[in-house]
Each structure stands twice: as C-alpha cells, then as structure tokens.
Symmetry: C2
Subunit: 342 residues, 2 copies
C-alpha cells in the first residue's frame, strides 16, 4: 500500500505533512510518496533527524504550489507542476493507492474530478467528514463540495455515506437520515420531500437503512450514522458545530480559570478535560474523504499538524484497503434515476 502525500498543502507545510508521513510509514507500514519541492522536503527530513530519505519514503518532485488565492477551478491547470496536480496524476497512473492533501478544498475537488475522474454514474463528488454526536460518530455528506443539489445527488450521497460508514466506522447497517426542519416526510422544500421519497424507496428495496428526516438538534443529541444533506446546508451544519464547540470550550475555560478555587478544580479534572478535548479534536479524525472520485482522495484540514496528517494517511489507507470506491462502483446502478427498475 502506497499513499501519495501532498507535501506542500496546508498551513504547516511542508513540515507537518512530512512529519505525519514519516510516522505513518513507521507505524502503519505504508509506503509514502511525497510530492513537492525536493529541497524543502529534504530540509524537513533533516529537521526531523533524517540525513537521507528513509526507507519506504520517496519524493516525486513538483516545483509549484497551489495557493488559497488561486482560482480553485483552474489552479491545477495553471500550475501543472504543483504538488497537488503531480500527486493526482501519479494516483491516476497507478503509482499509489490513495492521495492526501491539505491544500485548497476547491482546487482539490476540481483537480480530482478532472484528473482522476468521478466513478462512472456518480453525478457529483461529496465531502464526507466524520462528526461526533451523542451516539458516537456520524458521517456527514455533503459538507460543501456541491452546494446546490438535486434529489438524485442526495440519493447518491446517501449510498456513498452508507458504504463509507460501514467500512471506515465499522457500522454494519448504518442508520441513514436526511437533515431537515422536521421529522415528517412533508417537511422541508421540494429537494427534501423528493429525496425523502427516493430514500424511502431504497429502504423498502432493502438497499439502505433509511430512518427518515432528522433535525439538527437530534442529529447531534441522539444517534444517527449517516447524515445526508446538500453541500450548502451541510457546510452551515458543520461550521455551526465547530463554532458552538469554540464558544462552549471558551466559556468552560473561563469558568475553570476564574479563581484559585476553580483552578484547583480544573487540576483535579485534568484527565477528564484531556479526554473531552480529544473527543472533539478535529486532528484526531485526520481528514475528510472525497467520495465519488474513482480512487481514494482524502482532504486533510488546512490547519493539520503532524499528528493530523498521520491520521489522514491512516484514513486514506482504510479507504483504500476496505475498497469503498469499489463498493460504490458496484452498486451505482441503484443510484441512478435514469437506470432505476420500474
């Protein structure tokens, strides 16, 4: 198993991706192919105690870097020798089993769609982050790859999210719910009503475990395994959870550091606070799978540290090993409205 890692993407590149890659090579037994500026990568390796390129690690030189200010739709073409473009071309050619990048989400989406291509029959790719809820973790799909969706896109997202939850979260029969403003099938706009009908059909055919509409409140406070929504709403949902987490942890910190007495209490709670933080820490998950692309692509968070890159590579390995892409491709006939049986 060889994972291609964009060494130049993200706020902490190239040190963080190189650090995460080294750890992944050592602990997960994967081979690593780093794309980027050779000298800068060698300098990071040196900083991390490696005078030469370690065994199991290779470098594929790429002289350019895609920046956040580049046009997402054109960046990979305008910078054909960027670490992202080079990495995706290597993936396409079969020089690796998965690609991990913390570069611009929009550029990665466009580049993956146009270089690696979507799975045949899949209309749109989707970003599927893992989000903690009271029941454990759920797959949110889509969180922003495709802002405006049709019922068919959402049907495809539901299937893709379900396969991913099975393989990556290890849930045998994932409960799939549609994010909506009420539980009844009549709730929401046309998009939600029509999608509800399609998901109900898929459920009745025994292909999906669709449990109905769910509101934002219950999605977080109760258990569901796959939360299906369009990219606009999913992005609002995800960012709102992140913002609420910042607000609450800030208020918690203020409470704990208020006085000598509360500081003492905070000390007594040290272990618990550590676990609490770990549970809601984005670095623990690593990255977000880009589902619908014909080979495994994982988007690492822009602010990823070395540990987050390690986790993103671990995630890419699981996606490649468990053959989520193959699951989707094998079942794509059920996901296309123009090919549905009567």
């Amino acid at each position: 198993m060889k994972i291609i890692v964009d060494a130049m993407g993200g706020d902490n590149a190239p040190l963080a991706p190189v650090e995460g890659a080294l750890r992944a090579q050592k602990e997960l037994g994967v081979e690593i192919l780093l794309t980027g500026r050779t000298e800068e990568i060698l300098s990071c390796l040196d900083q991390l105690g490696h005078k030469t390129i370690p065994k199991g690690v290779e470098i594929a030189p790429a002289s350019q870097v895609i920046l956040m200010e580049d046009n997402p739709a054109r960046a990979f073409k305008e910078k054909p020798d960027s670490s992202m473009t080079v990495g995706l071309k290597l993936l396409k050619e079969g020089s690796g089993d998965a690609f991990v990048s913390a570069g611009s989400t929009g550029a990665l989406l466009s580049a993956a769609t146009l270089i690696v291509k979507r799975i045949r029959g899949i209309r749109r790719a989707a970003l599927a982050p893992v989000v903690p809820n009271a029941g454990g973790n759920m797959v949110l799909i889509d969180c922003g790859a495709t802002a405006e969706c049709t019922p068919e896109y959402l049907l495809q997202f539901a299937y893709m999210g379900s396969y991913y939850a099975q393989r990556f979260l290890g849930i045998a029969n994932p409960r799939v719910a549609l994010l909506n403003i009420g539980a009844e099938p009549s709730k929401g706009m046309d998009l939600q009503k029509q999608t509800h009908a399609l998901l109900t059909q898929a459920h009745e055919a025994g292909r999906l475990n669709f449990v109905g509409n769910i509101e934002g409140r219950e999605a977080m406070s109760q258990g569901v395994d796959v939360l299906v929504t369009d990219g606009f709403t999913g992005n609002i949902f995800l960012k709102t959870v992140e913002g609420a987490a910042i607000l609450f942890s800030g208020a918690l910190k203020q409470m704990l550091l208020g006085s000598t007495k509360t500081k003492l209490a905070a000390l007594m709670l040290k272990d618990g606070i550590g676990q609490f933080k770990k549970r809601f820490d984005a670095n623990e998950v690593g990255g977000t799978a880009m589902l619908g692309i014909s080979q495994p692509v994982v988007k690492a968070h822009g602010s990823s540290n070395g540990y987050a890159f390690f986790n993103a590579i671990r995630q890419a390995k699981v996606v490649a090993e468990t053959k989520v892409v193959e699951d989707i491709a094998a079942n794509v006939a059920h996901m296309r409205l123009d090919q549905k049986e009567a």
Copy 2:
C-alpha cells in the same frame, strides 16, 4: 400596557403561563389578559395561592385548544374559540398591546398573519430568536417561519432584525451579517449572491450596518449582532446549536460525575456551572419575536416553565414599548424592491 397571554399553549399549560403571567403582573407592572378555559385558569390561580382573580389580571374565556396535531394553516379557523384565536382577535381589536403564546408555531404564524395581518409591504413574517455567541447575543432571522426565501424577503429580514436588535438588545448600530458558506461576495447560491448585493446597497445608503457574509463557525465564535438567513437554513443553524449544547453539556456532566475526585471538583465549580447553564438556558430569553406582523407577537418555547413565560412576557412588553413594529412600518419603503429609488 396590557399583555394578552395564551393560557392553554405549551407543554406545561395552563399552570406555567398563569404562573409567569402572575409574576409579570407583579414585577413588571403590566396588566394581563389570559385567554383559555376559565375553570382551568381559576384552578391554577388557586394552586398558586389566589382564591380570586388578582388585580391587574383578567380572563377572556376560550373553550377550545389548538393542539400540535391540528393542521397549522387551518387550526385557528377550525377552532374559532381556541385560546390562540381569541387572543389574536383581542390583539387585533386593540384589547391588548402584545400577544404571547407557547402553542404550535405553525398555527401561531398562520393565525397571526391572517387575523392580525402583516405590516403593509412586508412580504413574509420571520421568527427572530436571540442566540448566544462569543460576543454576547445575536438575533437570528429567520429561524423557520419562511423556509423558502427570495432576496427581497432576506433584505426585509435584515432590516427587521436590525431594528429588533436596536430595541430589544440595546445595540446602537447592529452589525448585520448574511449566513453563508464563505466570506467572499461570490459565495453561496443565487439567493445569497443576490441578497449580498441588496444588503451592500442598503449599507452604502447608510441604512444598514451590513458587515458581509459570515460562516456558521464565526457566527458563533466571534461577534455579530444580526444573522440573516432563510427559514430552512436558520432552522438548521438554530437546532444544530441546541443539539451541540446538549452534546457538550452531556459530555461535561459525564466528565464531572466520573469519580469521587471529579465530583468534588464539580462541587467547587458549582457557582461557575450555574452561570454557564444560565447563559445557555433558553428559559432566560423567554421567547421568539414574530417580526413583520402589524402588532407584537411573541412565541414562547413549547417547553416553557413559569419563569420562561415571565421572560416571554417581559420581552413582549419591550417589543411593544420600544415600538419595533412602528420602526419597521416607517421604513418599509426601503425594503421593497418595487419601490426602490433608482
């Protein structure tokens, strides 16, 4: 100042509304007109230590109650003698200055729109809850009254939310932001792009303090005073914040009650936890203003206790006193696309 209170709406009716009304009459110096079943209200008054109807409190008999299972659009007509219908008719006739109900949101919206009517020129009513964020509190508008919106509706929501934030939150020049999936004006779907242009125009004309697009994350973790969005997205936003609050407070509780040591720490944090809870407690705000209706209407939360009703009545009093409705009516010409100056 006389506040009309639906004594039969909400999970804890009629005791909670009657209790909140009594307290409001005593502490806020308002007169109260309770609508509902006389005998049940008298029995609650008796329970609360009043053998006779206290001074400053009246009862307007209404034999019917609108239930959650009633059709929201037709309930007020099908039950013409319901506590909600009777209360809104009294408001319309001038027998009170504001109406508070914890009954079905959909029924209240339809009934208020059809009995009391919207302000002339306002296309749709909006529900504007007050939501805590890191900067203090913000007005979210709309949170579910109108799921599908046009740019003109959102322009009107922005103005209405701004007047309400001025009067109810006491913010002199409220910062108005549009909830979106990125900060740049080009982000979002047509609705957001067109609304951004309208809000920018209003800002340039000096009528609104529009600060641009904002993501869910920054809306919670930074400061903004008015958050404008369509009812579908606003409902997802609000419910997600509520769900995240439940998740975090559950995890916090688990952490604090884990062992004898952590229980001791929890005891030391008692005051802080109390303040923390108070800050995020829906009962503290009371209710949600229904803006765009030609007289003050406040929706109390279905699960309101007596204290929440007291706060909802206080809120209704502020809305009536500060003349938010008059503010909106006086400026409606700027909010209509068909009447805009070239």
